[in-house]
């Protein structure tokens, strides 16, 4: 993470970010969006008599920095202990806790421009949570031969396609109700998956796996070799690459995968992310580590590359092409919350097992999921606030 090569990547990313801030002098996306939105007191309209809220939009949701801070402590805590679900938590926070997602979706029909602007702002707010540090390690992993380039590129291609195609395919075709309902279903599905992981059956599988690994470790202890090797000497050799089968050898061991799976996986992740207005990076690493089942030695580099490409596209898409406004104080307060969460997270992991943090998440996911899907598909919320 802190290796010497990373500085080069920092420079490259920085250059990109700088380019991203080149703004046409005549462009003010927010002002244009406000003037293009119908005025009035109805949903999907801007009431100019109300006080400015989110991004300075009159009548926008007021951003409570204290709630943002407290929520981010929870996000940082999850990030530092359970892992991937921190990103999901951040997304849930931006969409539901602050009410931005709900607010964005009210403009879906009346003002697509405003809908896109608020959605993009939520997504940008989620982007910095993606593992920037991992992106910087891509180069190191590549040098060490720990990067499956075709797989990383397949994932990236899928996610780029998803980011561009989904908004185009769904533009104006998804009602506010359906949008809220689908978001609820997504969170509900996540909650159910995580619930399974916390059940005795889900736990037993992992326990058995650990015991098998330990037993094997004990059986080979006597013949342990400590030979030092040069990781740059040999690495991944792609034998053949066809649309449905990529074969590569890794130090004499042959692996194969179907490139369509990461492409489809990347596409679905990006589609979900685009559709729901959250960053997709937080789903890529879990996808690679659990769904793809690649050797960890390769997952590390490949996920770093996928994150790097995804992040670069996001920067370009949201900052260059679209000139997306960002509410800086909220991001700053959230980073401070993550700081506090990172302080306390590892310290509490001794006393609060992962499984209980996951159960807490399940309860939250069920609440958010049921509330949003009932609101979207039934027209009223089954849970408070109604």
């Amino acid at each position: 993470m802190f290796k010497s090569r990373k500085s080069l990547l920092i420079m490259a990313l920085a250059a990109l970010a700088v380019v991203a801030y080149i703004q046409p002098a005549f462009a003010d996306r927010l002002a244009d969006a406000i003037s293009a939105t119908p005025k009035g007191a109805e949903a999907g309209q801007i009431n100019t008599e109300l006080a400015p809220g989110f991004l300075g939009i009159p009548g926008g949701p007021s951003v409570n920095l204290v709630i943002g801070f407290v929520w981010a402590i929870w996000v940082g805590w999850i990030f530092s202990t359970v892992g991937a679900f921190g990103g999901i938590m951040a997304g849930v926070g931006h969409i539901t806790i602050y009410g931005f997602g709900n607010y964005a979706s009210t403009f879906k029909k009346t003002s697509p421009v405003m809908n896109k602007l608020v959605t993009d702002s939520i997504r940008v707010s989620n982007q910095w949570l993606v593992g920037t540090s991992a992106a910087m390690s891509s180069f190191n992993y590549y040098k060490m031969g720990r990067l499956v380039l075709p797989l990383g590129l397949s994932l990236a291609a899928g996610s780029i396609a998803g980011s561009y195609l989904v908004p185009w395919l769904t533009a104006g075709k998804v009602s506010l109700k359906a949008y809220i309902g689908f978001f609820g279903l997504f969170v509900l599905a996540l909650g159910c998956y995580l619930f399974y992981e916390t059940t005795p059956k889900g736990q037993a599988g992992k326990k058995q796996a650990k015991e098998a690994a330990k037993a094997f470790e004990a059986s080979i202890k006597d013949e342990k070799e400590g030979a030092k090797v040069d990781t740059a000497a040999m690495g991944v050799k792609v034998v053949s690459f066809a649309p449905t089968k990529c074969i590569f050898t890794f130090y004499g061991v042959e692996f194969s995968f179907n490139p369509l799976i990461p492409v489809v996986g990347g596409f679905i992740i990006a589609a979900l992310a685009s559709f729901l207005g959250v960053g997709g990076g937080f789903l890529l690493v879990p996808f690679l580590t659990s769904v793809a089942g690649l050797p960890m030695y390769l997952v590390a580099g490949t996920s770093a590359l996928a994150v790097l490409v995804g992040m670069t596209t996001s920067v370009f898409t949201y900052m260059v092409v679209k000139d997306t406004p960002v509410f800086w104080p909220l991001i700053g307060v959230e980073l401070l919350g993550i700081l506090v969460g990172s302080f306390i997270g590892p310290r509490t992991s001794k006393y609060i097992p992962d499984v209980w943090l996951k159960r807490l998440f399940v309860v939250l996911a069920l609440y958010v999921g049921i509330r949003y899907s009932s609101k979207g598909f039934l027209g009223y919320s089954l849970l408070p606030p109604f």
């Binding site: 993470m1 802190f2 920092i10 920085a14 970010a17 700088v18 801030y21 703004q23 002098a25 005549f26 940082g76 892992g83 991937a84 910095w128 949570l129 593992g131 540090s133 991992a134 992992k206 058995q208 796996a209 650990k210 098998a212 690994a213 094997f216 080979i220 070799e225 030979a227 040069d230 040999m234 089968k245 050898t249 890794f250 130090y251 004499g252 061991v253 692996f255 194969s256 995968f257 179907n258 369509l260 799976i261 990461p262 580590t289 089942g293 690649l294 050797p295 960890m296 997952v299 590390a300 996920s303 800086w328 104080p329 700053g332 980073l335 993550i338 700081l339 990172s342 590892p346 310290r347």
Partner: protein, 208 residues
Amino acid sequence: MFESIYPIIDSLLIAPYRIGLPALAAFWLGTAAIALWCTIAGEISMGLIYIWNRDYYTDLNREMTRMNNISIEAIRHKQKDTFKSANKWANEYFGKVFFSHAALFAVSLWPVPFAMAWLQSRFTGIDIHTVPFTEFSLGYPFVFILSYIIVRYGFSKIRPYIPLLKKIDDLRAEDAKKAGEMTSWNELAQIPEENNETVGSNSLESKA
């Protein structure tokens, strides 16, 4: 409380812009000074969290390395099921390492949004540069981000000479040793070719 502190912070931050240099040079100098504050505060925060939780990070790395090494040994012994079991756990630990590092890096960036907010309040709408032959203008974000990258890069070069940060770097090196050496797959290169077998990954194994 914030209202009473803000004017003090504001006057501190604006001071380098007013030292009498030509406008453009003063703007770059003042912004670079803010970038330096952001870098120092971010690096120290990240370092403190690392020191505070170093045992935890080392344990995660150690377990990740251990499971990876078991999985590689399992392939050498042609035990596919053991490979999958160990690899499952190696991935589990990798996920934790990955996101705890992401959180650490995010911590090092915490001052940046506040700097951007302050610059926005002071310099929004002011064009600092214009890209030659185009109508594109560059504002404070361009100057700040470029300064921040240069300052942070330069700072990484002088870290070894700053006692606190040098100490943190030494601890990191020590912890990396404690976590153990990750077995490289090079060792499998010695497997005779006729013994090679495909070790498929569950769902990525070709389903075509």
